[in-house]
Symmetry: C2
Subunit: 283 residues, 2 copies
């Protein structure tokens, strides 16, 4: 059996009881470690589960899936995923491959940012499509998500923006020289995301949003030190959200009263929040 | 401390380890039992947690929230919610009320249908707004969600349809006579939802969808006996999905190849699935 097990959002204790029992039954335990990160080391997981945890990077999952699945028709193998198993396409690939090999698969779900974002007080059913914002480089400044935000906002819907994570990056020099030396992980902050969003709006000028649009900056959602701050994009660009992971919600103007009441509680400036809700978000 | 704890999707073992530890620290434990249901009795939960579980119906949560919160500034109180705590508005109310009373609140997240629906193989970021389909009655046949589906489909997005649950209903006679006698719980099936959807399309005729639109009927998502069947609405209207809970996904025509490959695996008729994907879903 291949168990694909969600670990939830914070640390080793966010696994479900069912998930923990499954891990303990497995002969090999892999941890997917490139689409998201837990706030604890894999060694902590190993200790808690009483099992050696093998960290699987993108290369391994994409090119050695048959090694991960070896003998899983006879023994139990666990593939641990931060958040919920169906958060990323790669895990879907692994499940499809297991099916081809006639290996039974059981998925054990958990919270992920896709539902835990409800913690910001906006109702999940009022969210439109989700977007991902990647780090701009000097030569690559992709903005296709601008159209997605515009579509959501035209319908009055909220937009969850997932922010880029760079794990196991090589510098151009190390890559060129074939040295397997990796840069420290990088996590996009709410501040960086907003800077990029405002730059794109400056270029496109289609008013998908403006500096006056309300948003909620979210850090460490579902963890003990979760931070939520609401305000205009312009107000939030300099706010301090602390350590990773960050995400951002752009508020749609169908926001209803109960949502606004909840969100106002952590507004950076309650007076201007009220004014803007009254001006731009009253339906 | 008020702990608001998600129970996940299936039974007593879907709670997280962190959640279980919190429950065990509580003096009073309430179970919210009207927006969704677990597949086990509350007595099973009581036994597993080693705590008496008080079933809280809508009336109690809405009108006796202060009783639920009594002394929670000094002792620990748990409010258990099937799925994730932020799935329903009522829990937001309880959190707002706790804040007003200066009671610290900790939310422990879990999987809910809002993210576990990824199990159907469609990518969560390609879903638009979520809709709820309620039981039609002779005199009340609300169809405002039709516009939401139309908006999603105009953007090529998938639509998650949550299906009605009726718990603790009174018959008109019992209600009139003030008898607190309740009907057995009712759960809308995928079949009933599709019948209602097709009736609305017949009336509105705006082609938000047709009998030929692809959909995925989902039953018991995240549980050991999960059932997924894909096909056209017309094909699925008579399919057998077994016991509750059911939900339905209307596929948006931005479905990409990897999504289609996954979904085809449980198509009611693979040949017609391929034909319709080629005709209506090729981008």
């Amino acid at each position: 059996m291949l168990y694909v097990i969600g670990l939830g959002l914070s640390d080793e204790k966010d696994i479900t009881v069912r998930g923990l029992e499954a891990v303990k039954s497995c002969e090999r335990v892999y941890l997917e470690a490139y689409t998201s990160i837990l706030m604890v080391d894999s060694s902590k997981l190993s200790e808690y589960y009483g099992k050696q945890v093998i960290v699987a990077d993108r290369e391994m999952v994409e090119s050695e899936s048959d090694a991960i699945l070896a003998d899983a028709d006879k023994i139990n193998v666990a593939f641990l995923v931060v958040g919920d198993p169906y958060g990323a396409t790669t895990h879907t690939d692994l499940v499809i491959r297991a099916r081809e090999l006639d290996i039974p698969v059981q998925v054990i779900h958990n919270a992920s940012i896709m539902n835990a974002i409800g913690a910001c007080g906006l109702q999940l059913y009022n969210f439109g499509q989700t977007i991902s914002i990647v780090f701009f480089t000097d030569t690559w400044r992709p903005d296709s998500f601008y159209d997605r935000i515009k579509e959501n906002r035209a319908l009055g819907l909220h937009t969850l923006c997932l922010l880029d994570i760079k794990v196991k990056e090589q510098s151009i020099e190390n890559l060129a020289r074939g040295r397997k030396i990796y840069e420290p992980p990088r996590y996009m902050t709410v501040n960086q995301a907003i800077e990029q969003l405002l730059e794109i709006e400056d270029n496109r000028g289609e008013k998908a949003y403006t500096g006056e649009t309300l948003a909620i900056g979210c850090a460490r959602v579902g963890q003990p030190h979760q931070t939520l701050i609401s305000g205009t994009l312009q107000q939030l660009v300099d706010a301090d959200f602390g350590g990773p992971l960050h995400s951002l919600v752009i508020v749609g103007n169908k926001m209803h009263e109960l949502e606004a009441e909840f969100v106002k509680d952590f507004a950076i400036d309650k007076t201007s929040f009220d004014e803007i809700v009254k001006r731009d978000y009253s339906l």
